[in-house]
C-alpha cells in the first residue's frame, strides 16, 4: 500500500484493526462495540483524570442492555464517545457497524441526553426539527410527530413553548425526539429520572414496544428497579472499567435456593434455613432438592403453603455488593 493511501486509510478508520472490526460488526450485527477505549481529561494545570480506562463492551442487535455504575464511573463519557461527541484517548469502537462518529450510523440512532436541553420552540416544532436533522421527510414526519406526542402524553402541550415546560415534560419531549427517526439503536442516558410513576410506566411500555420491533436499547440509569424489569443484560461499570456483566436473570439468581412462605406453623421444618416471621407468616429457605419434602412437611404439620419462589437478589443488592467489592478490592494493598 502506498504511503499516501495508507495514511488516508488510517485517518478514516483510526487503524487497520478498527477497519476490520467495523467490517466484522456489519456481518455479525453488533450494534455497539467499545474495544479498549480510554479517555483522559487534562486540567489546565496538567492534572489528569481518566474517565474511561481500557473500557470494552459489546452489544448485540435486539437487546436491551442496562448500563449501571455510580456517579463518575464514566457512563456518560462512554456514550458521548460512541456518539462521536468526544474522541477517545485510546482504543476504538463501532456504532451500527460504523466507526464512532460516522454520520450514517447516527441517522439510525436515537439519543436522549442526561440533561435534555432544547431550543425555545414548541414541542411539536422541536420534534420536527430533530426529525428533519435526521432526514425524516413530510408527510411521515408529521405523522410520527403526532404519534409520539400522543405516546408521551404531550398532545395538549404540543403547541406550547418548551421554555415553559417542567423537567419531567422536557424529559418526555427528549424521549419523543429520540424516537422520531424510528431508530435501530436507542441510547438513553437517565431517561426516567424526572418522571412521575405513571409517566415512567408509559415510557417503559414504549421501550418494550420498541424492542418488540427488533430494535436495540442501551439504557444508562440509576433507576435499578426499572433496569431489573426491562433489561435483558446488565453491565456494571466503575472507575471507567467494566467490573461485571451478564444476563439479568443469571446475575440476580443468588443460588438454587427457594423461599417458602407458609401459615399455620409454629416452627420451620427441619433442614430448612433462615426462618423468620413476616406479616404473621413463617418464611424459610430450602434447596431445590429439599423443596418437595419441605412442602410435604408443612402440609403434614397442618400448615398451608402460601408461596414458593426462587430466591433472587434485587438489582439494588447486586449493585451495592459489586460496587463495595470492587472498591474494597481496589483499596487492598498490593
Amino acid at each position: 500500500m502506498k504511503v499516501r493511501q495508507r495514511r488516508r486509510f488510517h485517518s478514516a478508520l483510526g487503524s487497520p484493526r478498527a477497519f476490520f472490526l467495523c467490517r466484522y460488526n456489519r456481518i455479525v450485527a453488533a450494534v455497539l462495540e467499545f474495544e479498549g477505549i480510554s479517555k483522559r481529561y487534562r486540567s489546565f494545570l496538567g492534572r489528569e483524570h481518566w474517565a474511561l480506562n481500557d473500557f470494552s463492551l459489546k452489544m448485540e442487535r435486539g437487546e436491551i442492555v442496562g448500563f449501571l455504575g455510580p456517579n463518575g464511573a464514566g457512563k456518560t463519557t462512554a456514550i458521548h464517545i460512541a456518539l462521536g461527541l468526544a474522541r477517545p484517548s485510546a482504543g476504538h469502537g463501532t456504532l451500527l457497524g460504523q466507526v464512532f462518529g460516522a454520520v450514517s450510523s447516527r441517522r439510525k440512532l436515537g439519543f436522549l441526553s442526561e440533561t435534555p436541553a432544547f431550543y425555545h420552540q414548541t414541542a411539536r416544532e422541536t420534534l420536527k426539527f430533530y426529525g428533519r436533522l435526521n432526514g425524516v421527510a413530510e408527510p411521515e414526519l408529521s405523522r410520527r410527530t403526532g404519534d409520539l406526542l400522543a405516546s408521551v402524553n404531550l398532545v395538549e402541550d404540543a403547541n406550547r413553548s418548551i421554555g415553559k415546560f417542567s423537567r419531567g415534560m422536557l424529559q418526555r419531549v427528549g424521549i419523543a425526539q429520540a424516537l422520531i427517526n424510528d431508530p435501530e439503536l436507542l441510547i438513553l442516558d437517565e431517561p426516567t429520572s424526572a418522571l412521575d410513576p405513571l409517566s415512567r410506566l408509559k415510557v417503559r411500555e414504549l421501550l418494550l414496544q420498541h424492542r418488540t420491533g427488533g430494535k436495540s436499547i442501551f439504557l444508562s440509569s440509576h433507576q435499578l428497579s426499572e433496569v431489573e424489569r426491562i433489561c435483558d443484560r446488565v453491565v456494571f461499570v466503575q472507575r471507567g472499567r467494566v467490573i461485571a456483566g451478564g444476563r439479568t436473570q443469571d446475575l440476580l439468581k443468588e443460588s438454587d435456593e427457594f423461599e417458602i412462605t407458609a401459615s399455620g406453623l409454629r416452627s420451620a421444618p427441619p433442614e430448612t434455613r433462615n426462618s423468620h416471621t413476616e406479616n404473621g407468616h413463617l418464611v424459610f429457605s430450602t434447596t431445590a432438592a429439599q423443596q418437595r419434602s419441605a412442602i410435604e412437611q408443612v402440609w403434614s404439620a397442618g400448615g398451608t403453603v402460601i408461596s414458593v419462589v426462587p430466591k433472587t437478589r434485587t438489582m439494588e443488592e447486586l449493585f451495592v455488593e459489586l460496587m463495595t467489592n470492587s472498591e474494597s478490592g481496589r483499596r487492598k494493598p498490593q
Binding site: 456518560t76 456518539l83 474522541r87 454520520v103 432544547f118 436533522l133
Partner: protein, 228 residues
C-alpha cells in the same frame, strides 16, 4: 443541505431580539438627523453609515465567536450533533445564520440612509455597494471569529478577529489578501458606488478556506465537558 438551513434558521431565531435591535438602530440614529424640511447632508450620512458598517462587522465577530461556546454551555450542541449532522454542516449553518443577520442589518442601514438622503440613482447605487461591501466584510470577520472560537476562549476569538479586520486600517497600504476588510471598507467616503470586485472575491474565498480549516479543528475537539 437541509441541516445547514435548519441550523442557520435556528441561529437567527436564537438571536432574533438582537437582530431586531440592530435593525432598528440605524433608524433610531437617523431620527436625530432627520428633518421634514430638508434632506440630511450626504457627508453626515456617509460618516454615520461608515460607523454603522463597522459596528455591524464587530457585532458579527462577537456573535460568531460565542456561538459554539453558548451551545456547549447550554448542552444543546449534544442534541444537535448526536443527529445526522457533520461538524462541517454545523459550522456552515452558524455562518449562514450570520450571513442572514448581516444581510438584514446592512439592508436596514441602507434603508435608513435612503430615508435620510432621499431616493436617487446615485444614492441607491452607493448604498447597494455599501450593502455588498459590508456584508462581505462581516462574513469574513465572522468566519475568522468562528475559526478562532474552535480553540480559543470566545472573548479572545472576537477580539483577535476584530483586530485582524480593523488593524490594517492604520496602515497606509495593506495587502488585500491579508486584509480584505480594509480593502472592502477602506474608502474614506462610505457612499462610493464602486465595489472592489477582487477584494470581494478574496473575502469570499478566504471565508470558505477559513471555514474548512475551522471544520478540521472542530472535528478533533470534544463538544462535551466531563460532567460526571
Amino acid at each position: 443541505m437541509i441541516p445547514v438551513l435548519l441550523l442557520a434558521k435556528n441561529f437567527l431565531r436564537q438571536n432574533r431580539w438582537l437582530l431586531l435591535a440592530f435593525a432598528a438602530f440605524p433608524f433610531l440614529l437617523g431620527a436625530f438627523l432627520w428633518s421634514p424640511h430638508h434632506a440630511a447632508s450626504q457627508q453626515d450620512v456617509s460618516e454615520i453609515v461608515q460607523m454603522e458598517v463597522r459596528y455591524g462587522v464587530v457585532v458579527l465577530a462577537f456573535l460568531d465567536s460565542s456561538a459554539i461556546y453558548n451551545e456547549k454551555r447550554s448542552r444543546r450542541i449534544v442534541g444537535v450533533l448526536s443527529k445526522a449532522v457533520t461538524r462541517e454542516q454545523y459550522l456552515l449553518g452558524l455562518l449562514l445564520g450570520s450571513a442572514y443577520f448581516a444581510v438584514t442589518y446592512f439592508a436596514s442601514v441602507a434603508a435608513a440612509a435612503l430615508w435620510l438622503i432621499g431616493v436617487s440613482d446615485l444614492a441607491v447605487g452607493a448604498l447597494s455597494s455599501m450593502f455588498v461591501r459590508g456584508t462581505l466584510a462581516a462574513l469574513w470577520t465572522a468566519s475568522v471569529a468562528l475559526f478562532l472560537s474552535t480553540f480559543v476562549y470566545p472573548f479572545f476569538a472576537a477580539a483577535i478577529a476584530a483586530a485582524l479586520a480593523f488593524a490594517p486600517f492604520a496602515l497606509s497600504h495593506a495587502n488585500t489578501f491579508l486584509a480584505p476588510v480594509a480593502a472592502l471598507l477602506g474608502a474614506s467616503d462610505s457612499l462610493v458606488r464602486s465595489i472592489p470586485i477582487s477584494a470581494g472575491m478574496i473575502a469570499i474565498a478566504e471565508s470558505a478556506i477559513i471555514l474548512l480549516l475551522a471544520a478540521q479543528i472542530f472535528v478533533r475537539r470534544d463538544v462535551t465537558v466531563n460532567i460526571e
